[in-house]
Subunit: 417 residues, 2 copies
Amino acid sequence: MRHELLLKMASDAKEASGPLSLLSTKTKNSALARMAKALLSKKDFILAENAKDVKCARQKGIPASVIKRLELDPAKLQKIADSLALISKLKDPVGSELSSVRRPNGLLIKKVRVPLGVILIIYESRPNVTADCMALCLKSGNAVVLKGGSEAIASNRAIYKILNGAAIKAGVPDGSFQFVDTPDRDAVKTLLGLSDLINLVIPRGGEGLIRHVAEISKIPVIKHTKGVCHVYVDKKADLEKSVAIILNAKTQNPAVCNAMETLLIHEKVAASFLPKICDALRKKGVRILGDVRTKKIVPGVEKAAERDWYKEYLDLILSVRVVKDVDGAIRHVQKYGSHHSDAIVTEDKNAARKFTEAVDSSAVFVNCSTRFNDGGEFGMGAEMGISTDKLHARGPMGLEELTSYKYVVLGTGQVRK
Amino acid sequence: MRHELLLKMASDAKEASGPLSLLSTKTKNSALARMAKALLSKKDFILAENAKDVKCARQKGIPASVIKRLELDPAKLQKIADSLALISKLKDPVGSELSSVRRPNGLLIKKVRVPLGVILIIYESRPNVTADCMALCLKSGNAVVLKGGSEAIASNRAIYKILNGAAIKAGVPDGSFQFVDTPDRDAVKTLLGLSDLINLVIPRGGEGLIRHVAEISKIPVIKHTKGVCHVYVDKKADLEKSVAIILNAKTQNPAVCNAMETLLIHEKVAASFLPKICDALRKKGVRILGDVRTKKIVPGVEKAAERDWYKEYLDLILSVRVVKDVDGAIRHVQKYGSHHSDAIVTEDKNAARKFTEAVDSSAVFVNCSTRFNDGGEFGMGAEMGISTDKLHARGPMGLEELTSYKYVVLGTGQVRK
């Protein structure tokens, strides 16, 4: 795609972002309702376009797991429509007052939420991301430039076309949604240079994509990168809770970023607990790699190599290590973890406090599953992903995390002394 | 400076940032008190080192305005010590609870402030920045890597040495403060590549420095860039307030980023108001450049070129333009401004609302001077600078803006359904 065209798309988005930032909650919500309706009424068209992508992917020999993410059906479309309806019901973050102080000189200083401006989303094969991002950006008053994966281009184009048309009819400024209609990878590089027009880039997808974006972007990036998540079973853990939490964190949905990848066990309970939990995990089909001590306690465990402690398996595979105590567990998490989601199981308040204070992750869990690190579970209603960065937004990114703020200062003629 | 040495400094800072993030408020405050004391008791040493920098700068023919910023005296050192004492009195942001929700499944989800980790500060010729940044980073629990300008290197080294020694004696982890002791500009490039070790870079100084840092950094940057600040005098302005605000915004300290650079006037009041205000400004030594209509109304005004509307003069020079109405003023500010500080003078609430909503600046003022965009004036006690970015921190950056957060989730065995 030509540089000039990409520049025009970003400029149009910036142009639209002014009026979009001032759009009433009512208009935004009725647009979201109209978008949901349009999506369902045009479902035959969307499914036909999606079938083209799926056919093409099969011809290219793309893995079945990717095709599964790519493929739409009426039930998935209904879910996307439900998500639009849900977002219309969430509180509008724009204009809400974060603080308000009256200064001794009489100035009233208000800190007010405002949209960020223009957000660039770079994503891979899930077509639902197109709809989710359009809805979240609209509700938070941001214009959005969408650059999806080439394997989903027909599906994304169809969803974009229908939702954009419905939104404009409902009064959303034309230009608020931009779709980069090219499989060309150079387009990404051009877009990531437009720091005067685009305020934030959110890459969503595999580690390679995110690293590439972070490496070349001139625009601020919020990374939603891998989750090497840990569960640590302390000496004073309730072992029944431990079993439930471990099975949930590993097997309830192993392909997601907040699933557990490494289990750490206090040496005092390893001998009694490890055989039991490994047996339960194996019954669920989990392959176990362990350190020397784990291998001694549990027959048939494979040897974990140094590099395995860094791995995000996203599969029914688990690394297991015996540690000396909570400090040993913290050291392991800090060295090998990815600052995503880590849990301790313990009835000892001091151990829990130590772990939650020292572990530098977006969410730290005590006696519950790492799988709870999720916008829906946190009560945000919907999310853009889970930030593993520390700047601006950390953990689940909902509507509020898609905003900035400004100060509005009301005076009666005050000047500075 | 060798790459390995810079890498070691950043690694040491990261290593120290763990224990530093857990340091008690009491220890941090007593360290700040000790640092203030040490600074004053070693003032002869600091002033002697500073004299070397000043002598060297004079020999190099560095401009008098830069030498003025560089030069220290006992009164300036007292001010730096006072600032350390002030920061010790501010509320510790670390550990404070931003929110706390109990979910229907019984999980208690707390959002807690935590330090960012390691902050790199790149700055120019003011040696007080060394002390201010060390104090603000310490109080907010962050390790800091200091890279000051080459013309202040002896002064910065002296201040660093004394404050670092005092802090370590008071229990601050060794390594929390790192000083890049080289005038070598390549060191900056190396440091800006260390995104695994450094969490944030704050460049402080001229536009060129900030652009350079933003261009090459692999670490997130919060820019504190130029202020092309506007005052708009509306049709319904109180003209007495207007005069006071304009004189204050332009002349009280013209060399700072929140000083006014462009005056916009509603066409309905231009003929009566412009001669009066231009006269008052000229009496204060202000040189005036204007558009065609201003030139017609006020004799002797120079012609403002298109490029002048973008200018941050930082001097007793002012661009003046007549606009049709508040919408014209908004369009001008959005096109030529730098999203820093902009003011409207009006008694019309609708015009004020329109202006504050549409102008996308870190602070928007109604009936008061742009000079109030300042951490001290906003009640933050001290600031790192004024962010013109929209990500993470906007406007004055105080202690809270130097923190991130994490979620601490307390359960009783919950797993995800």
